[in-house]
Amino acid sequence: MNFDELPPDWRGQLAIDGSAEQPCLWLRGAWELRDDVPRYAAIAPQLANARRVSVGARDLERWDSSAVNFLAAVVRDARARNIEVDQSALPDGLRRMLALVFAVPAPPPRATPPAPGMLAGVGLAVLHAWRDWPAMIEFAGEIILSLGRFVTGRARYRRGDFAYLIEEVGPRALPIVSLISFLVGTILAYMGAVQLALFGASIYIADLVGIGVVREVAALMTGIILAGRTGAAYAAQIGTMQVNEEIDALRTLGVSPIDYLVLPRMLALIFMVPVLTLYAGIVGILAGMTIAVLVFDVGFYEYYNETLSALELKHFAVGLIKGTVYGGLVAFAGCLRGMQCGRSAQAVGESTTSAVVLGILLITISASILTIVFQKLGI
């Protein structure tokens, strides 16, 4: 009586009768989960004065979750208003489904904290970046302790893993290191030669390329290649182990994940980086020589002798020291981000990205510091 008209789309599926105090809702026809399925929210106002609601089915052909959803909304609303719902006219199946929906009382839904405003967001980001540094120092401390255990033979790790890591970092990186060093050597030679040729001093390409590559460029390029190749891999490997609770499993065995995972990776990189840097330097020099001889008509022996006289041991020392530092920092960034990884696939992606960014950032910072230090020392 006196119920408003239902929307025409719904008349095939829903009917309301009874009184305003004791309304009856009848499901009928076919209930299928589609966008035009009747929604309780739309008819709730018509039941505002109800003291008792009956729900039932008349000529209900078939139904799926949409009907259960509708009825669940009726029951939920009725419970909130403390009124009774008579389900006796429902088919057994629907009644049992409904019982299952309410079988376990739901805990109050978790409040999601409001998203911070822009200013607060900037503040949080700064705080977050700031808190990163103590975490890095702590991690570095743990690595040093672990190194102590390693040196005294108390660190537990697997030799087989270590061999694999060495192979992964060293020999397998050779193709990409060769390619990039050769190209960079070529670029250096060209840039220098064009200028030097103006003065008829093409032979000094040898000095430029030799010293430039050995002292700076080989180490820098190796560092950056390793950040993208190995640092990212470390973060992804350790991060995935974090997701799968593999690191927790190690801890419960009393095995330090630093000893077992981090230190071998750091050492593998630190051992292999000098070799890679040296190799990159030699490839760079060969590239310079190729260009000078083929393009700028410098004699092969002249170039060879000039390179030998230009290069001193200290240049190699500087290059190798830099390379080793960069490699250590790349491994550090990769392992740190891996250990800090959260417990989801997305977190693994984020820590991998962050490992590369942090690796390159640390390389750049240390490159500046080392250059100034070597300058001051006059090396």
Partner: protein, 255 residues
């Protein structure tokens, strides 16, 4: 429901002469059985005998080495990719390890199939998502991430996701592993309810004897030693009159 009853005993899934192998290593050979519409069908067998592998071949993840799977008489593996996808939309799958998307909340996990395969309005999707989570006893956990809930809860959340689209066929790989006896009972009720109300066919791998006897009306037993099926039929019958190995299995080694 009447629809479910009238189509009863019509073959829904047929496994025909199926051999599965990883490379040259044959896991099971010559599997041949039929699952009827509205069946609750259990795949039994010792650990490592190939139950999960069989499930993966049935749901179209891995092509069988030999033989095929028919749905409603249509050869799945001979169908075009578009038809295969169409068929897969009617599947609801619970993987053995849950396989929830770790970067999404429970609500987003359940909502994803609805968003991908229906044109429902977002608020209706939200309602359905809450409903499905309530059905598995996870109402109120919508905003939790998989890493923030227990192992058994992950199982149930996976189940809610499997049910999202009111699928025609539900594949469950050990749904009650990691559930307490009460939740396990509730799960059995839910499976029966899904079958009765929605007319779904349910294929499940389980070791839970109470569950098997409570809900299954047909089953197959895969044997790891002979690498083929050694029993096929109602588990209650098999427990009494089956071959010895199966009787022992179904009586917890006490036959």
């Amino acid at each position: 429901m009447s629809a479910a009853q009238s189509k009863q005993a019509a073959p829904h899934i047929e496994i025909r002469n199926l051999t599965m192998a990883y490379g040259d290593y044959v896991i099971q050979r010559d599997l041949d059985f039929t699952i009827n519409r509205g069946d609750i069908f259990v795949i039994m067998g010792g650990s490592g005998c190939g139950k999960s592998t069989l499930l993966r071949q049935m749901i179209g993840l891995v092509r069988p080495a030999k033989g095929t799977v028919l749905y409603d008489g249509v050869d799945y593996w001979a169908a075009s990719p578009a038809q295969q996808v169409q068929r897969q939309r009617g599947f609801g799958i619970l993987f053995q390890a849950g396989a929830l998307w770790s970067s999404l909340t429970l609500a987003e996990n359940v909502a994803l199939p609805l968003q991908e395969f229906t044109t429902l309005a977002p608020d209706l999707i939200d309602e359905i998502v809450s409903l499905k989570l309530s059905l598995v006893g996870l109402g109120g956990f919508e905003q939790f991430y998989p890493s923030e809930i227990s192992g058994g809860m992950k199982k149930r959340a996976g189940l809610a996701r499997a049910m999202a689209l009111d699928p025609e066929i539900l594949f469950f790989d050990e749904p009650s592993a990691g559930l307490d006896p009460l939740s396990s009972r509730r799960l059995d009720d839910l499976i029966l309810e899904l079958r009765d109300s929605l007319g779904a066919t349910v294929v499940l791998v389980t070791h839970e004897l109470p569950s098997i006897f409570a809900i299954a009306n047909n089953s197959v037993f895969l044997d790891a030693d002979t690498r083929t099926m050694i029993a096929y039929g109602d588990p209650r019958e098999l427990a009494e009159h089956g071959v010895e190995k199966v009787r022992t299995f179904l009586k917890r080694g006490a036959a």
